[in-house]
Amino acid sequence: MRALRSPKVLAGSALLLVLLLLAVVGPLIAPHSADWQADRTSGLPLAPSGRFWLGTDQQQHDLFSRLLSGGRDTLLISFLAGLFACVLSVAVGVTAGFVGGLVDDLLSALANIFLALPGLLILMVIMKPLPPAETSDPLLIGSVIALTAWAWGARVLRAQTLALRAADYVEAARVIGERTWRIILFEVVPNLLPILASAFIFTVIYGIGTYTALAWLGVISPASVTWGTVLNEAQASGAAVNGYWWWYLPPALAVALVGIALALVNFGIDEVINPRLTSARTGRARGVVFRLGLTPVLKSAAPQAASPTPVPLKEAQP
């Protein structure tokens, strides 16, 4: 795995792992439950202190506990959305690319229409009238978000499938009489994996942004506390204008961190998909001088390349 050697990918994966771990165990290690109130009489948010690491909000909830508990649903829903969207985009993209003709035209038109639709707005219109019981179901929310997110992946996958379909080895498989489903599953799809991975990451980034935005706007009211709902309460009480930075900054940064971690991983995947784009400053291409018209050569690799089968000295001079 060449991608794993890049420091960006390592940093991204490590960060992502920590965040995922926190999402899983967060509610368990939180000092208080998310709904715990320190005091029912005071209506003034408390600044961070030794007792409340991230302060409290207006209802005197411990914000550190809410931050720890809020990640679970947020991450679950965005990864579900990414997963569902990927399944959809493989189904549409590979079918369109492999079958071609009228099917391709129709599916491509469908994908293009979905690309032009502003997903967040449509989700608002759909979800606003839904009863709270339904909007707190992660599976439902994840799949609805996925419905607005598959088109980009389908488009990229279709283009790559088109290129693969014309490749010699796929042609060969067809000539020796392989069945179509076998060609698709064993010859085409494995070669789509890097693109699929990158599409997955983009969709998860889209998913977390969309889900938090919907919760922040108050369109959906999840059963449990999420980063988005904390932001929603902060917005409703004018936390930004009143200077209660400890209220909304931590969940906002948490969402931002997830996005950054995913983007860093995606950097590495990009370089695997297209090695020509490798940054000259990191990874394998470190020290390579790119000059127009000259093939860049790794200096450290040069001696090996010059003598692929090293000849032992003794035999060379009998």
């Binding site: 502003p118 707005l121 608002m124 938090t212 930004a240 906002a252 950054i260 400053r281």
Partner: protein
């Protein structure tokens, strides 16, 4: 010409699909979700006329068939009628007329800025691959991978609230001591520009990475082409060789732009909410808070049609600029 007709046909179809989707969205919802929403409105202080208009729009009162509702909706659209906003007791179209210029100004300026800056930066970064700038790419991606409204929060807090560099609320100074008359006069325009700086900066930062990275990658790919080598071999100065590569590398970014425009527009709408900017985005927030369904749907339709129109323009520009696109179809 055939390509042109095909594209036009696609956009007509897409526009029709959007209009139809907008009609059925409210009616396809499970259970009586919409009925509940409307029932809540009926409880509110609405005059009977407005309720009758609502019932006609959503077909909840009178027992018209779905088809006749659909036809009424279409003819309403053709007459420029998007229904009545329940929270503001004003036609949706007049609300949009007041707020759309703000949004268009914001998105337009920010996108133009992001395009110019991002493309130029992409050319330089792609040309000088070993340069320090290449190491800055992850920093640019940071802004792209953070959701718009989170980025807007961070910009507002750092530069607005704590930095105090720019105002971070409203579209122009509405304070008690400000005596501004909206219109083309100096003080008002200055105030609008000041108040628009942070929202525009957010949109520029968020969309910049797409331009820079897209352009950089295309530059690197294009620089391997023989004609760039020829240009260099002829002894042209560096910047002219770069220009030869850049001219061709810029084409795909135009279609990338068409792909990303819907994300940019939704992002800008959300940014408006953070900055209480008086555009369409702020109206969306109001409509959500008050359950103003006609306004929400009217905005959705206008935004979708605008995005489609921009896509069409980008497509036509691409066909005009790239002869290969004309043969393709």
């Amino acid at each position: 010409m055939r390509t042109l007709l095909r594209r036009l046909g696609f956009y007509l179809l897409a526009g029709f699909a959007a209009v139809t989707l907008n009609f059925f969205l409210a009616r396809l919802l499970p259970g009586s979700a919409l009925q509940n929403a409307l029932a809540k409105l009926r409880g509110a202080n609405l005059d009977p006329d407005a309720i009758r208009a609502l019932e006609a729009q959503y077909g909840t009162g009178a027992d018209h068939s779905l088809l006749s509702q659909y036809l009424t909706y279409l003819s309403g659209l053709l007459h420029g009628d998007l229904g009545l906003s329940t929270s503001q007791s004003a036609p949706v179209t007049s609300i949009l007329g007041d707020t759309l210029p703000w949004t268009l100004g914001l998105v337009g300026t920010a996108t133009a800025l992001a395009f110019v800056v991002g493309t130029l930066a992409g050319i330089v970064v792609g040309w000088k691959r070993n340069g320090l700038l290449d190491g800055l790419l992850p920093a640019v991606t940071f802004f792209q991978s953070v959701p718009y409204f989170i980025l807007a929060f961070l910009v507002m807090m750092t530069l607005g609230y704590f930095g105090g560099l720019f105002p971070y609320q409203n579209g122009y100074d509405t304070g008690r001591h400000a005596h501004l008359t909206p219109g083309w006069n100096g003080p008002f325009v200055t105030s609008v520009i000041e108040h628009g700086t942070l929202p525009a900066l957010t949109v520029v930062l968020a969309s910049l990475a797409g331009w820079v990275i897209g352009m950089r990658n295309m530059m690197i790919t294009t620089m391997d082409e023989d004609y760039v080598l020829v240009a260099a071999a002829k002894g042209l100065p560096q910047w002219r060789v770069a220009a030869v590569a850049a001219r061709n590398a810029i084409l795909p970014t135009i279609s990338n732009f068409a792909l990303s425009i819907s994300l940019v527009v939704t992002g800008s709408l959300v940014t408006e909410i953070v900055f209480t900017y008086p555009g369409v985005g702020w109206q969306i927030y109001q409509a959500i808070l008050t359950g103003d369904y006609p306004l929400l749907q009217g905005i959705l339709l206008v935004v979708v049609l605008t995005v489609l129109a921009v896509n069409l323009v980008a497509d036509l520009a691409y066909v005009a600029l790239d002869p290969r696109a004309r043969k393709e179809a």
